[in-house]
């Protein structure tokens, strides 16, 4: 099953880069979003604790 999916004939030079580019785009979005969320969450929580103390 997998080999059929991978044998995309002579246009492979275009199909895989297209999938690659999409993967890179998604990867960047996911990583940046999660990193940003974690960073600001940690900062907000630490400031919250600091304020209460």
């Amino acid at each position: 099953m997998i080999d059929h999916a991978l044998s995309v004939g002579k246009y492979a030079a275009f199909i895989w880069p297209a999938y690659g580019a999409s993967a890179v785009g998604f990867a960047w979005m996911i990583v940046d979003t999660l990193a940003r969320a974690r960073r600001w969450r940690r900062k907000a929580d630490s400031l919250e604790k600091h304020k209460e103390s």
Binding site: Y11, A18, S22, L47
Partner: protein, 240 residues
């Protein structure tokens, strides 16, 4: 429903579980759609390159949706002054730009083998996505160039609304321009005339992309809410 989410605490509680679920569902749909699509027989006309369509058309579709979300969030923030709506607008712009970028790159990689040119001016949808990319760029440039956050947000919201009103007109003018110079439309891909063996994977990846976009957007809004909370706490601490 949206008014209920306007209150940050309720939104954070809702998005806490909604974002991961949307993400997983989206990934699943995309995975299944691609698995189906990749196993489909090569198209008699486009050969294997039809397999790029499964990731190009959804990306173009989601980038249009992203701009509509940007316009909608800006409208709610401008008219009803929801602080959360502005966070949503600010959060969606980079996502929209990336999705448009993906749509453009995959569009070019699809056009090259099919029409022999990296950039196909004949494809009205591709040109509309390009203009959309410029609209996102303009939005982010305006927002980045204004130091005062409140003023920057307001100016960017007005621009997003002007852009939203123009979006259908731009799309129409590009398609009108396309038919003008091409006579008949060059590329009917993605239309309903598509064979079901390609249509189902396309619909699956389309739905998957949309859910993934929703998950990413919710997550970025959460990050934005925390960022604003952190900056105001830091400021208050400094001023106290």
């Amino acid at each position: 429903m949206f008014a209920a989410l306007a209150n940050p605490a309720r939104f954070m509680a809702f998005s806490r579980w909604a974002a991961p679920i949307l993400g997983v569902l989206g990934a699943g749909l995309v995975g299944y759609g691609l698995w189906l699509g990749l196993n489909a027989p090569p198209d008699y006309q486009q050969g294997e390159t039809v397999k790029i369509m499964f990731i190009h058309v959804p990306a173009a579709w989601v980038s249009m949706m992203a701009y509509a979300c940007l316009g909608g969030a800006s409208f709610f923030s401008l008219v009803f002054r929801h602080a959360l709506a502005d966070a949503a607008a600010r959060a969606v712009a980079p996502l929209g730009a990336i999705f448009t970028g993906i749509a453009l790159v995959t569009g070019m990689l699809w056009g090259r083998p099919m029409w022999g040119a990296w950039w196909v001016w004949g494809d009205a949808r591709l040109v509309s996505v390009l203009v959309l990319f410029l609209l996102f760029l303009g939005y982010m440039a305006l927002r980045a160039s204004i130091d005062d956050e409140a003023k920057g947000a307001r100016a960017a919201e007005i621009l997003a609304l002007v852009g939203l009103i123009n979006l259908p007109i731009i799309k129409y003018s590009v398609e009108w321009w396309n038919t003008l110079h091409q006579g008949e439309s060059v590329m009917r891909a993605g239309g309903s005339a598509l064979a079901p063996v390609y249509l189902t994977p396309l619909l699956l990846t389309g739905a998957g992309y949309s859910l993934a976009f929703g998950a990413l957007w919710l997550a970025r809004i959460r990050a934005e809410v925390w960022r604003r909370r952190a900056t105001s706490l830091a400021l208050r601490a400094a001023l106290a």
